[in-house]
Protein backbone atom coordinates (compact mmCIF):
# COMPACT_ATOMS: atom_id res chain seq x y z
CA UNK A 1 0.00 0.00 0.00
CA UNK A 2 1.34 3.41 0.82
CA UNK A 3 5.04 3.60 1.63
CA UNK A 4 6.05 4.80 5.06
CA UNK A 5 6.24 8.57 4.88
CA UNK A 6 9.28 10.26 6.25
CA UNK A 7 8.67 12.84 8.90
CA UNK A 8 9.10 16.43 7.85
CA UNK A 9 11.40 18.50 10.03
CA UNK A 10 12.35 22.02 9.00
CA UNK A 11 14.37 24.12 11.43
CA UNK A 12 13.27 27.69 12.05
CA UNK A 13 15.08 30.49 10.29
CA UNK A 14 15.06 34.18 11.20
CA UNK A 15 11.91 34.65 9.17
CA UNK A 16 10.29 31.23 8.89
CA UNK A 17 8.83 28.86 11.46
CA UNK A 18 10.11 25.54 12.81
CA UNK A 19 8.08 22.72 11.31
CA UNK A 20 7.66 19.26 12.84
CA UNK A 21 5.41 16.85 11.02
CA UNK A 22 5.25 13.43 12.66
CA UNK A 23 3.18 11.32 10.31
CA UNK A 24 3.02 8.21 12.49
CA UNK A 25 1.75 10.18 15.47
CA UNK A 26 -0.51 12.36 13.30
CA UNK A 27 0.96 15.56 14.68
CA UNK A 28 2.11 18.71 12.99
CA UNK A 29 3.54 21.73 14.72
CA UNK A 30 4.50 25.15 13.43
CA UNK A 31 6.34 27.46 15.74
CA UNK A 32 7.98 30.84 15.44
CA UNK A 33 8.04 33.74 13.03
CA UNK A 34 6.86 33.86 9.45
CA UNK A 35 7.64 36.72 7.10
CA UNK A 36 9.69 35.12 4.36
CA UNK A 37 10.48 36.72 1.04
CA UNK A 38 8.40 34.07 -0.68
CA UNK A 39 5.64 32.48 1.39
CA UNK A 40 4.93 29.84 -1.24
CA UNK A 41 8.51 28.55 -1.01
CA UNK A 42 8.03 28.02 2.74
CA UNK A 43 4.44 26.75 2.77
CA UNK A 44 4.44 24.80 -0.51
CA UNK A 45 6.41 21.83 0.90
CA UNK A 46 4.38 21.83 4.13
CA UNK A 47 1.13 21.85 2.19
CA UNK A 48 2.33 19.02 -0.05
CA UNK A 49 3.25 16.94 3.00
CA UNK A 50 -0.14 17.72 4.48
CA UNK A 51 -1.92 16.58 1.31
CA UNK A 52 0.07 13.34 1.22
CA UNK A 53 -0.63 12.74 4.90
CA UNK A 54 -4.37 13.43 4.68
CA UNK A 55 -4.67 11.09 1.70
CA UNK A 56 -3.83 8.25 4.08
CA UNK A 57 -5.35 9.63 7.26
CA UNK A 58 -9.00 8.65 7.00
CA UNK A 59 -10.64 7.83 10.32
CA UNK A 60 -7.68 9.06 12.30
CA UNK A 61 -7.26 11.68 14.96
CA UNK A 62 -4.71 14.30 14.03
CA UNK A 63 -3.42 17.20 16.04
CA UNK A 64 -1.95 20.44 14.83
CA UNK A 65 -0.18 22.86 17.13
CA UNK A 66 0.46 26.41 15.99
CA UNK A 67 2.54 28.67 18.17
CA UNK A 68 3.31 31.68 16.06
CA UNK A 69 4.96 34.84 17.33
CA UNK A 70 4.37 36.90 14.22
CA UNK A 71 3.42 36.24 10.60
CA UNK A 72 2.91 38.55 7.66
CA UNK A 73 -0.14 38.75 5.42
CA UNK A 74 1.08 36.32 2.77
CA UNK A 75 1.85 33.77 5.50
CA UNK A 76 -1.66 34.37 6.91
CA UNK A 77 -3.08 33.37 3.54
CA UNK A 78 -0.96 30.23 3.49
CA UNK A 79 -2.09 29.34 7.02
CA UNK A 80 -5.75 29.89 6.10
CA UNK A 81 -5.25 27.65 3.10
CA UNK A 82 -3.98 24.90 5.43
CA UNK A 83 -6.91 25.37 7.80
CA UNK A 84 -9.40 25.16 4.94
CA UNK A 85 -7.75 21.95 3.79
CA UNK A 86 -7.91 20.56 7.34
CA UNK A 87 -11.55 21.56 7.61
CA UNK A 88 -12.33 19.62 4.42
CA UNK A 89 -10.51 16.61 5.88
CA UNK A 90 -12.56 16.97 9.06
CA UNK A 91 -15.75 17.10 6.98
CA UNK A 92 -14.63 13.87 5.32
CA UNK A 93 -14.27 12.06 8.64
CA UNK A 94 -10.79 12.78 9.98
CA UNK A 95 -10.85 14.03 13.57
CA UNK A 96 -8.85 17.24 13.41
CA UNK A 97 -7.82 19.19 16.48
CA UNK A 98 -6.02 22.51 16.03
CA UNK A 99 -4.40 24.16 19.01
CA UNK A 100 -3.70 27.82 18.39
CA UNK A 101 -1.27 28.87 21.10
CA UNK A 102 -0.57 32.50 21.92
CA UNK A 103 0.84 34.40 24.87
CA UNK A 104 -1.73 35.72 27.34
CA UNK A 105 -0.82 39.34 26.60
CA UNK A 106 -0.71 38.91 22.84
CA UNK A 107 -4.06 40.18 21.56
CA UNK A 108 -2.93 40.22 17.94
CA UNK A 109 -2.12 36.53 17.73
CA UNK A 110 -5.24 35.60 19.67
CA UNK A 111 -7.39 37.64 17.32
CA UNK A 112 -5.79 35.93 14.34
CA UNK A 113 -6.75 32.61 15.91
CA UNK A 114 -10.33 33.82 16.27
CA UNK A 115 -10.39 35.04 12.65
CA UNK A 116 -9.18 31.68 11.38
CA UNK A 117 -11.54 29.65 13.54
CA UNK A 118 -14.72 31.55 12.68
CA UNK A 119 -14.82 30.17 9.17
CA UNK A 120 -14.04 26.57 10.02
CA UNK A 121 -17.04 24.35 10.66
CA UNK A 122 -15.79 20.78 11.00
CA UNK A 123 -12.53 20.77 12.89
CA UNK A 124 -11.98 21.56 16.55
CA UNK A 125 -10.11 24.82 16.97
CA UNK A 126 -8.80 25.55 20.46
CA UNK A 127 -7.45 28.93 21.47
CA UNK A 128 -4.77 28.15 24.02
CA UNK A 129 -2.89 30.56 26.24
CA UNK A 130 0.80 29.90 26.72
CA UNK A 131 2.65 30.82 29.89
CA UNK A 132 3.11 34.42 28.75
CA UNK A 133 5.67 36.65 27.12
CA UNK A 134 9.28 35.54 27.10
Amino acid sequence: MSPVMENLTIPATERSPAVEFDFAAGRLSLKGESYPEDASAVYGPIFQALEAFLATATERTVRFDFEMIYFNSSSAKALMNMFLRLDRAAAAGVTVVVNWVSAADDETMREFGEDFSEDLDHLTFNLVESAGAD
Binding site: Y35, E37, Y70, N72, K77, D106, T108, M109
Partner: protein, 185 residues
Protein backbone atom coordinates in the same frame (compact mmCIF):
# COMPACT_ATOMS: atom_id res chain seq x y z
CA UNK B 1 29.90 72.95 6.33
CA UNK B 2 29.79 69.19 6.32
CA UNK B 3 28.65 68.88 9.91
CA UNK B 4 26.21 71.74 9.50
CA UNK B 5 24.68 70.17 6.39
CA UNK B 6 24.21 66.77 7.87
CA UNK B 7 23.12 68.10 11.22
CA UNK B 8 20.32 69.97 9.51
CA UNK B 9 19.49 66.80 7.57
CA UNK B 10 19.38 64.87 10.86
CA UNK B 11 17.38 67.65 12.52
CA UNK B 12 14.81 67.59 9.75
CA UNK B 13 14.20 63.95 10.69
CA UNK B 14 14.27 64.66 14.43
CA UNK B 15 11.78 67.50 14.03
CA UNK B 16 9.35 65.05 12.49
CA UNK B 17 9.81 62.76 15.48
CA UNK B 18 11.55 60.12 13.41
CA UNK B 19 13.37 57.44 15.36
CA UNK B 20 14.40 55.14 12.53
CA UNK B 21 14.69 56.00 8.90
CA UNK B 22 15.95 54.10 5.94
CA UNK B 23 16.24 55.46 2.43
CA UNK B 24 17.82 53.65 -0.45
CA UNK B 25 17.96 50.16 -1.86
CA UNK B 26 16.10 47.80 0.42
CA UNK B 27 16.68 44.07 0.60
CA UNK B 28 15.03 41.33 2.68
CA UNK B 29 18.21 41.25 4.80
CA UNK B 30 17.93 44.95 5.59
CA UNK B 31 14.23 44.49 6.32
CA UNK B 32 15.09 41.79 8.86
CA UNK B 33 17.78 43.89 10.56
CA UNK B 34 15.71 47.06 10.73
CA UNK B 35 12.70 45.13 12.03
CA UNK B 36 14.83 43.45 14.67
CA UNK B 37 16.27 46.80 15.83
CA UNK B 38 12.76 48.26 15.90
CA UNK B 39 11.43 45.47 18.11
CA UNK B 40 14.42 45.73 20.44
CA UNK B 41 14.00 49.49 20.76
CA UNK B 42 10.32 49.12 21.66
CA UNK B 43 11.01 46.27 24.08
CA UNK B 44 13.68 48.33 25.88
CA UNK B 45 11.10 51.08 26.29
CA UNK B 46 8.61 48.61 27.79
CA UNK B 47 6.13 49.10 24.96
CA UNK B 48 3.22 46.70 25.37
CA UNK B 49 3.22 43.54 23.28
CA UNK B 50 0.17 44.51 21.22
CA UNK B 51 1.68 47.85 20.16
CA UNK B 52 5.01 46.22 19.30
CA UNK B 53 3.19 43.68 17.11
CA UNK B 54 1.15 46.36 15.35
CA UNK B 55 4.14 48.59 14.61
CA UNK B 56 6.24 45.64 13.51
CA UNK B 57 3.49 44.29 11.28
CA UNK B 58 2.91 47.61 9.51
CA UNK B 59 6.66 48.04 9.09
CA UNK B 60 7.06 44.57 7.54
CA UNK B 61 4.09 44.94 5.17
CA UNK B 62 5.27 48.38 4.05
CA UNK B 63 8.87 47.27 3.57
CA UNK B 64 7.82 44.14 1.67
CA UNK B 65 5.55 46.28 -0.51
CA UNK B 66 8.55 48.45 -1.39
CA UNK B 67 10.67 45.38 -2.16
CA UNK B 68 7.95 43.95 -4.40
CA UNK B 69 6.41 47.00 -6.04
CA UNK B 70 8.90 49.83 -6.14
CA UNK B 71 9.26 51.06 -9.71
CA UNK B 72 12.91 51.77 -9.03
CA UNK B 73 14.90 48.55 -8.98
CA UNK B 74 18.36 47.31 -9.83
CA UNK B 75 19.02 43.73 -10.88
CA UNK B 76 22.11 41.73 -11.53
CA UNK B 77 24.60 39.15 -10.33
CA UNK B 78 26.80 39.78 -7.31
CA UNK B 79 29.76 37.80 -8.56
CA UNK B 80 28.77 34.72 -6.60
CA UNK B 81 26.44 33.74 -9.40
CA UNK B 82 23.37 34.68 -7.41
CA UNK B 83 20.91 37.06 -9.02
CA UNK B 84 19.84 39.92 -6.77
CA UNK B 85 17.15 42.48 -7.07
CA UNK B 86 17.15 45.57 -4.88
CA UNK B 87 14.26 47.98 -4.66
CA UNK B 88 14.56 51.63 -3.80
CA UNK B 89 12.33 53.36 -1.32
CA UNK B 90 12.17 54.84 2.14
CA UNK B 91 10.60 53.79 5.37
CA UNK B 92 10.55 55.83 8.57
CA UNK B 93 9.20 55.18 12.03
CA UNK B 94 8.56 57.96 14.48
CA UNK B 95 6.56 59.29 17.39
CA UNK B 96 3.84 61.89 17.19
CA UNK B 97 1.68 62.97 20.13
CA UNK B 98 2.66 59.85 22.08
CA UNK B 99 1.77 57.52 19.24
CA UNK B 100 3.97 55.69 16.77
CA UNK B 101 3.73 56.25 13.05
CA UNK B 102 5.22 54.43 10.09
CA UNK B 103 5.67 56.14 6.74
CA UNK B 104 6.83 54.55 3.54
CA UNK B 105 7.62 56.09 0.20
CA UNK B 106 8.59 54.71 -3.17
CA UNK B 107 8.12 55.38 -6.83
CA UNK B 108 5.33 53.64 -8.68
CA UNK B 109 4.55 53.37 -12.38
CA UNK B 110 2.05 55.90 -13.68
CA UNK B 111 -0.26 53.13 -14.87
CA UNK B 112 -0.40 51.60 -11.38
CA UNK B 113 -1.46 54.80 -9.59
CA UNK B 114 -5.21 54.61 -10.24
CA UNK B 115 -5.54 51.01 -9.03
CA UNK B 116 -3.42 51.60 -5.92
CA UNK B 117 -5.26 54.81 -5.11
CA UNK B 118 -8.64 53.08 -5.43
CA UNK B 119 -7.53 50.29 -3.08
CA UNK B 120 -6.27 52.77 -0.50
CA UNK B 121 -9.36 55.00 -0.73
CA UNK B 122 -11.56 51.98 -0.14
CA UNK B 123 -9.57 51.06 2.99
CA UNK B 124 -9.40 54.64 4.24
CA UNK B 125 -13.18 54.94 4.12
CA UNK B 126 -13.89 51.66 5.92
CA UNK B 127 -14.51 51.43 9.65
CA UNK B 128 -12.78 48.89 11.87
CA UNK B 129 -15.42 46.18 11.49
CA UNK B 130 -15.54 46.56 7.72
CA UNK B 131 -11.75 46.28 7.51
CA UNK B 132 -11.81 43.14 9.63
CA UNK B 133 -14.54 41.59 7.47
CA UNK B 134 -12.63 42.53 4.30
CA UNK B 135 -9.48 40.97 5.73
CA UNK B 136 -11.26 37.72 6.46
CA UNK B 137 -12.77 37.69 2.98
CA UNK B 138 -9.37 38.22 1.33
CA UNK B 139 -7.79 35.55 3.54
CA UNK B 140 -9.88 32.94 1.74
CA UNK B 141 -9.17 34.23 -1.75
CA UNK B 142 -6.58 32.39 -3.81
CA UNK B 143 -3.38 34.40 -4.37
CA UNK B 144 -3.86 37.16 -6.92
CA UNK B 145 -1.96 36.63 -10.12
CA UNK B 146 -0.77 40.17 -10.78
CA UNK B 147 -0.53 41.77 -7.38
CA UNK B 148 1.44 39.16 -5.44
CA UNK B 149 -0.61 39.68 -2.32
CA UNK B 150 -0.81 43.46 -2.17
CA UNK B 151 -4.48 43.60 -1.30
CA UNK B 152 -4.25 41.62 1.91
CA UNK B 153 -1.01 43.39 2.82
CA UNK B 154 -2.71 46.77 2.57
CA UNK B 155 -5.71 45.52 4.55
CA UNK B 156 -3.36 44.28 7.27
CA UNK B 157 -1.77 47.76 7.37
CA UNK B 158 -5.16 49.50 7.59
CA UNK B 159 -6.26 47.09 10.28
CA UNK B 160 -3.38 47.98 12.59
CA UNK B 161 -3.92 51.73 12.20
CA UNK B 162 -5.63 53.67 14.97
CA UNK B 163 -7.03 56.18 12.50
CA UNK B 164 -7.67 56.18 8.76
CA UNK B 165 -4.54 55.68 6.69
CA UNK B 166 -3.10 58.75 4.94
CA UNK B 167 -1.59 58.52 1.46
CA UNK B 168 -0.55 60.72 -1.41
CA UNK B 169 0.95 60.58 -4.87
CA UNK B 170 3.24 63.12 -6.47
CA UNK B 171 3.83 62.89 -10.22
CA UNK B 172 7.52 62.88 -11.17
CA UNK B 173 9.16 64.15 -14.37
CA UNK B 174 9.99 60.64 -15.56
CA UNK B 175 6.36 59.61 -15.90
CA UNK B 176 6.40 57.80 -12.59
CA UNK B 177 4.84 58.94 -9.31
CA UNK B 178 6.17 59.14 -5.79
CA UNK B 179 3.81 57.24 -3.51
CA UNK B 180 3.62 57.84 0.22
CA UNK B 181 1.62 56.05 2.92
CA UNK B 182 1.44 57.10 6.57
CA UNK B 183 -0.03 54.92 9.29
CA UNK B 184 -0.59 55.95 12.89
CA UNK B 185 -0.69 53.13 15.44
Amino acid sequence: MLAKDYRSFKRALDDRGIIFSFSGYLSEGILYSLGDALRQKMAIEDTDVTTIKKVFSVFIEQAQNIIRYSAEKVQGGTGGGRAVELSSGMVSIGQEGGRTFIVCGNTVLAEDVAKLRARLEKLRDMDRDAIKAYYKEQLREPPEEDSRGATIGLIEIARRASEPIAFDFEPLDNGKSFFCLKVLI
